[in-house]
């Protein structure tokens, strides 16, 4: 339990510089997608979506490093491990739900099956 001997020193509170760095990065990563969407976005819708989502992913990482002080050493690695586990579950849950429900919507709409119905029911 040597890691917990100096309990007060165990937690990384960060420094003034790291908070300011994280804040400035967050401001830039927020301003880019808001500015882009407010200005109407690129010609290609896909490119706009890509930039907006990309900025969000980078900003989440910035927050985790500079504000939540995540690293591989905190709590002997358990913080990082539980986070990675959560990320995997979240990705499976969101991607899986969207995938299943998209196919449900496109394949099971009642009007899509008109050809399969007997003549008298059309």
């Amino acid at each position: 339990m040597s890691a917990h001997t100096h309990h007060e020193d165990n937690h990384d509170h960060g420094s003034y510089r790291s908070y300011i760095t994280g804040f400035l990065l967050s401001v830039v990563l927020t301003a880019i997608p808001f500015g882009l969407v407010m200005a109407g976005g690129f010609e290609s819708r896909l490119l706009t979506v890509g930039v907006v989502v990309g900025c969000a992913i980078v900003q989440v990482l910035v927050h985790m490093v500079y504000f939540l002080h995540m690293n591989s050493r905190a709590e002997e690695g358990w913080t990082l491990l539980s986070t990675l586990f959560t990320v995997i579950i979240v990705v499976i849950m969101i991607a899986g739900s969207l995938w299943v429900m998209y196919h449900l919507n496109t394949n099971m709409m009642p009007q899509m099956n008109h050809d399969l119905l007997p003549e008298q029911l059309r």
Partner: protein
């Protein structure tokens, strides 16, 4: 070579310092909260196009208001960081001052969000209007509820710190609220990106 049972198994219950496992325990709570938000995000993702011939994002959302709201939450995140730095320097008055500023930003965020909700419901775009709006109000409302409870917790800790000072228990509590507060900012990144920005493209 022979290892006695006594050496191999820890027969004595080993003692943890009080609160030694609080941090990891609270982190696991945050991860489970994250899973709950993931379900709400997935629901919104599935239902985001089901307007039921009602208003869509472009009729309802005001991006400038959302940008101001985002700024409020981001500012409250960094002022909470400054409160933690003041705490690390044993500066009780500084900690309380920065916590107070954080609370003001948090309340501004809630005020703007309630104004937005009231405006939408007034226009007939309440949670009952369409599946899209039900999912919207559930997701954004749950985040707002978290900020509300975070603010109540913040006031509680300000009272605790002003009464008992920066004792070990209060430091631990402030550390947990710090994680909670920054975590809510991370969730908000997902909300403004997936709900507001992608809805307006």
């Amino acid at each position: 070579m022979s290892m006695t049972t006594q050496d191999f198994w820890q027969t004595e219950p080993h003692h943890h310092e009080e609160g030694a496992s609080t941090n990891i325990g609270f982190w696991v709570y945050l991860m489970s909260d994250c899973l709950m938000f993931a379900v709400l995000f997935a629901t919104f993702g599935v239902l985001h196009g089901n307007y039921a011939a009602g208003p869509g994002p472009k009729d309802l959302f005001d991006l400038e208001l959302v940008a101001v709201n985002t700024a409020m939450l981001l500012l409250s995140s960094i002022t909470y960081g400054f409160a933690m730095l003041a705490m690390a320097q044993d500066n009780r008055a500084g900690t309380l001052r920065w916590l107070g500023i954080t609370l003001v930003f948090g309340l501004c965020f809630l005020g703007i969000e309630l104004y937005e909700f009231r405006h939408m419901i007034h226009e007939g775009a309440g949670p009952q209007r369409s599946a899209f709006l039900s999912a919207f109000f559930t997701l954004v409302g749950t985040h707002g509820l978290h900020v509300t409870f975070g603010s109540i917790w913040l006031v509680t800790l300000m009272v605790q710190v002003s009464k008992h000072g920066l004792i070990a228990a209060n430091r631990r509590r402030l550390m947990c609220l710090s994680l909670f507060w920054h975590f809510l900012d991370v969730i908000w990144i997902g909300v403004f990106t997936l709900v507001y920005l992608l809805g307006m493209i």
